[in-house]
């Protein structure tokens, strides 16, 4: 199985462990990831509030490159990148916008690339292998946290139940885990305010962690680098807002499955977390 791969900026910087775990897991599941050559930033949270043409051109270039390199399907692990690529594809169905963007890029753009997130990749190409290759069942009670960008807006992404998504829960159950029915599955963690308003992030992420902890989760499972870094890196600030400090780790779905398949903690980047992972 061969599939295009767009890591995006986060996965080469603050969320290297996500990249490492995606690559390690793909390898273990016989999925060959073909990285898009000469990819660029998707514009993420900043571009689309500043400049529409820029916010469409950046993701469009990534997809145009992928198309040029003969890829038909691309997995995008970062939820923000996934969201931007999907939204751009949707926006560029408009003839005028497409013509303008092609004019800017000076590259052909068809718009028929299939963009999927990591959960969709695992569901589609990994489900069977995961089932047969589990060597260390993931016997933990966890809270699956999807965040905002992975499921919204539903009308464009058309992925999972928008208020109560289930795909990550199903994957966790598949490796022997127990998932919580909890209230903050799709609440916002503060996202892009991670740098400018840490106080807001501490409050919003605090709400999420508190509910997970109150329901005695052993870990929070995520599929978005921004969610992970807010819940993990900002733990100090979060704990200052809470009565009882919370020490439950926040790991990627790829790390959880990797552990179950017996991949080493170092290979999965588990050593890079701020909150110690002992699972």
């Amino acid at each position: 199985m061969k599939i295009g791969f767009y890591p995006g900026c986060s996965l080469t910087g603050s969320s290297r462990e996500y990249n490492e775990s995606v690559v390690a897991l793909a390898k273990a599941l016989d999925i060959e990831l073909v990285e898009i050559k000469d990819w660029n930033c998707c514009g993420a949270t900043a571009a689309h509030v500043m400049n529409e043409e820029l916010s469409l051109s950046l993701p469009a270039r990534i997809m145009a490159m992928a198309e040029e390199q003969g890829l038909t399907e691309v997995v995008v692990p970062c939820a923000a990148c996934y969201n931007r690529l999907k939204v751009t594809q949707h926006e560029l169905e408009d003839e005028n916008k497409r013509t303008r963007v092609i004019e800017i890029l000076k590259l052909p753009y068809r718009g028929d690339l299939k963009i999927i997130n990591v959960l969709q990749m695992l569901e589609a190409y990994g489900a069977e292998n995961i089932k047969t290759r589990v060597t260390r069942p993931f016997a933990h009670k966890v809270a699956c946290y999807y965040g905002c960008l992975l499921v919204r807006p539903h009308s464009i992404l058309k992925f999972d139940r928008v208020e109560d998504p289930q795909s990550m829960d199903t994957l966790i159950k598949g490796i022997g885990g127990t998932t919580l029915d909890w209230a903050f599955k799709t609440e916002c963690c503060g996202a892009g305010f991670s740098v400018s308003r840490t106080d807001l992030v501490a409050k919003l992420s605090g709400n999420i962690l508190k509910d997970a902890a109150d329901r005695s989760a052993e870990a929070v499972i995520v599929a978005c680098p921004l969610c992970q870094s807010n819940l993990d890196m900002r733990r100090g600030a979060i704990n200052k807002t809470l009565k009882n400090p919370i020490d439950i780790p926040v790991i990627y779905i790829t790390q959880a499955i990797g552990l179950a398949l017996g991949i080493g903690a170092k290979e999965l980047g588990l050593k890079r977390h701020f909150v110690t992972v002992e699972l």
């Binding site: 139940r161 928008v162 208020e163 109560d164 029915d181 909890w182 209230a183 109150d214």
Partner: protein
């Protein structure tokens, strides 16, 4: 050659002030085929009409043209005059010299010339007119009412009280509908069952009403005045002629945990059951899906208990045919369940209820005997949140319309709660309060001011459960968009009212139209609210759109009057302006080739398939035939017909062509 009489009216001076009427009469008098042409001050007056009648007899006229006002005004008058003189009324036409000529033009040569043209048009048309007879359709004076809720009950009683027979068909084992489930009713807070059950009994005892419960319409054929309804009587498994309704079987039935439909799933019932204590008829049916005997072949405890031997295990569904002249559709509505709302927990939280479930909790005959208690643990909720517009007015949920009753019943619910739980706190989240109706606004004010219900203008984003509480996260848009979080013990969703399940299929069976939300469509939104586009089929109640009890009752009585008016004559007399398919002598039979484009054009399903058979019974051809009872005379089929085989009486191709050509061939 034709002998046409032309009568030009001065209309006082209304026409003669701008049109030289004498010249019109003179010039038209010289036209080919015109035997007699005069002008007179008031043609519609008695002497004027007498001129026409006498001329018809004296000159043996075979056509009459009256140049006067609009035919929309006096066509019936002059046609009647002609008929009295022995001329077929449909050989009389009017030229509109007033509204379309003298009143809209200045006095001039051109105006008179236009008047001459207008009369000429009609003379040429009348030459092609054919005598027509008004259409008479016999009427079966028996009505079919579908649905035994308050709409169907009211319509049935009203029709029955005019002395006509009514067949009332109800899908459930008892009549009563949603109204029987309600606790108290707004804006008076009188008990719903107290006002409804006497009517239910009246239906059962009325000599003119035949009641079929546990029955559904299978098919409807025919047309206004002459319908044939096939009704499926579902097997009750209990012989109602011997059953005394003692209820012993219900006591002994071992299958006790079936969610009760009547209690909106909050209570339970047995497999042999009467939906509720005041049911009409008050005799049980066996729910075969849940009965041990039908499921596993053993049990029959009810049979052992029954002292009169009324249980009929092998009874099958029965299909009966009834002939009726009119149909009233009163199939009501349904409400969305809590599982429709992912943001409010996909229906997984036991203490998130629909408004209908809350009605059952508040009802003295409900599962808690009128005490407001949580379904999860039976505790009395101290904090309760009502969410209005759950689904309604929400295009994202596919329900952009207002469900109309929720504002009022939510105010009522909050009030009932405050009356029953004195130390309780209730909050209503609303979009707008729509309390249009007699004493409605006052009622809502009472809830807010006297019963201290906390009204918060804003939406609820999410409800989730935590530590046995329901956390309601919403926004107060009146206080600068403040976020509001309430730890509630119970949440009641005023879920959207939607079309009853199966309404689309029923509409298709009856050939009535329905809107995108599967509510039945009225014939005209303002002037024909109880009629459908299918003549003889009427609407009552919430099957047309969500509505409250007073409106439903009013509409049901309206439908009943329409039925009574239809039944007031033995025959239905209609204008013969209908489409006809030509018929020719064999071997042609008709120029119709049987493409049935007319069928696709017809909004009334008036096109039938007529099989032309030879002497040996073999099929020669299938051609179109117009059902004159259903045809309303729009003529859309005529324009669709490729072989010009269908034409509309009164506006035939020949007539219209003659009119147009008269204007152009100078």
């Amino acid at each position: 050659m034709s002998k046409i009489g032309v009568f030009i009216c001065h209309c006082g001076e209304n026409i003669s002030a701008t049109v030289d009427v004498e010249r019109v009469a003179r010039e038209i008098g010289g036209m080919e085929g015109v035997a007699h042409a005069i002008d007179y001050k008031y043609m519609c007056s008695d002497p004027g009409q007498t001129f026409i009648k006498e001329a018809v007899k004296k000159y043996g006229l075979d056509g009459v043209v009256v140049g006067a006002c609009s035919p929309r005004m006096h066509e019936p008058t002059f046609r009647r005059a002609c008929a009295e003189a022995g001329l077929n009324p449909y050989l009389c036409e009017m030229a509109n010299l007033r509204e379309h000529c003298s009143w809209v033009h200045e006095k001039s040569e051109e105006t008179t010339e236009k008047a001459i043209d207008l009369v000429k048009m009609m003379v040429e048309k009348v030459k092609k007119n054919k005598p027509l007879d008004s259409i008479k359709v016999p009427v079966t004076k028996r009505a079919l009412v579908i649905g035994g809720g308050i709409a169907g009950i009211q319509a049935s009683l009203d029709i029955a009280n005019t002395g006509h027979k009514v067949i009332l068909v109800e899908r459930d084992p008892s009549i009563g509908g949603h109204m029987s489930q309600l606790s108290e009713t707004f804006p008076t807070l009188d008990c719903s069952q107290c006002i409804l059950t006497p009517r239910m009994v009246e239906v059962a005892q009325h000599p003119n009403i035949k009641l079929y419960t546990y029955a559904e319409l299978e098919s409807l054929e025919g047309f206004i005045g002459n319908f044939k309804a096939k009704i499926r009587l579902k097997a009750k498994s209990v012989n109602y002629s011997t059953c005394t309704g003692c209820g012993a079987c219900i006591q002994k039935c071992p299958v006790k945990k079936i969610p009760s439909e009547f209690n909106a799933g909050l209570g339970t019932r047995t497999a042999i059951y009467v939906p509720f204590p005041q049911a009409v008829p008050n005799k049980p049916v066996i729910d075969r899906v849940n009965c041990n005997y039908y499921k596993r072949g053993a049990c029959k405890i009810c049979e052992k208990t029954c002292q009169v031997g009324s249980i009929e295990w092998d009874k099958e569904d029965e299909i009966i045919t009834e002939e009726v002249g009119a149909v009233v559709l009163a199939t009501g509505f349904d409400v969305k369940g809590t599982d429709f709302f992912p943001e409010y927990g996909y229906g997984q939280y036991k203490d998130v209820l629909t408004g209908l479930q809350f009605e059952r909790l508040a009802s003295a005959s409900g599962p808690t005997f009128g005490e407001i208690r949580r379904p999860s643990d039976g505790a009395i909720p101290k904090k309760i949140v009502f969410i209005a517009c759950a689904g309604s007015r929400d295009p994202a949920k596919g329900i952009p319309y207002c469900s109309k009753i929720c504002c009022m019943y939510t105010a009522k619910h909050a009030m009932l709660y405050q009356h029953k739980v004195h130390d309780g706190e209730s909050t209503v989240f609303y979009m707008d309060i729509r309390a249009g109706g007699k004493n409605y606004e006052e009622f809502v004010r009472r809830a807010i001011e006297e019963d201290t219900v906390n009204y918060v203008r804003g939406r609820v984003a999410r409800v989730y459960e935590k530590n046995g509480k329901l956390i309601v996260k919403g926004v107060d848009t009146l206080l600068g968009g403040e976020q509001v979080e309430i730890e509630a013990d119970m949440v009641v969703l005023a879920t959207a009212g939607v079309a009853n399940c199966g309404s689309e299929q029923l509409a298709q069976k009856l050939h009535v139209s329905y809107d995108p939300y599967h509510f039945f469509a009225e014939a005209h939104p303002k002037l024909k609210p109880v009629e459908t586009n299918t003549a003889g089929i009427f609407l009552a109640g919430a099957c047309q759109a969500p509505k409250d009890i007073p409106e439903t009752v009013g509409m049901a009585s309206g439908a009943a009057v329409k039925v009574a008016a239809l039944f007031s004559n033995d025959e239905l007399v209609r204008e013969p302006v209908v489409a006809v398919v030509n018929r020719l002598a064999p071997p042609l039979y008709s120029t119709c080739v049987g493409c049935f484009m007319c069928e696709t054009a017809c909004p009334y399903n008036a096109i039938e398939h007529e099989e032309i058979k030879g002497r040996d019974g073999s099929l020669i051809r299938t051609i179109a035939r117009v059902n004159q009872g259903l045809c309303q005379g729009c003529g859309t089929c005529v324009a669709f017909c490729r072989s010009k085989s269908i034409d509309i009486q009164g506006y035939t191709n020949e007539q219209v062509y003659a009119e147009v050509m008269s204007l152009l061939n100078d």
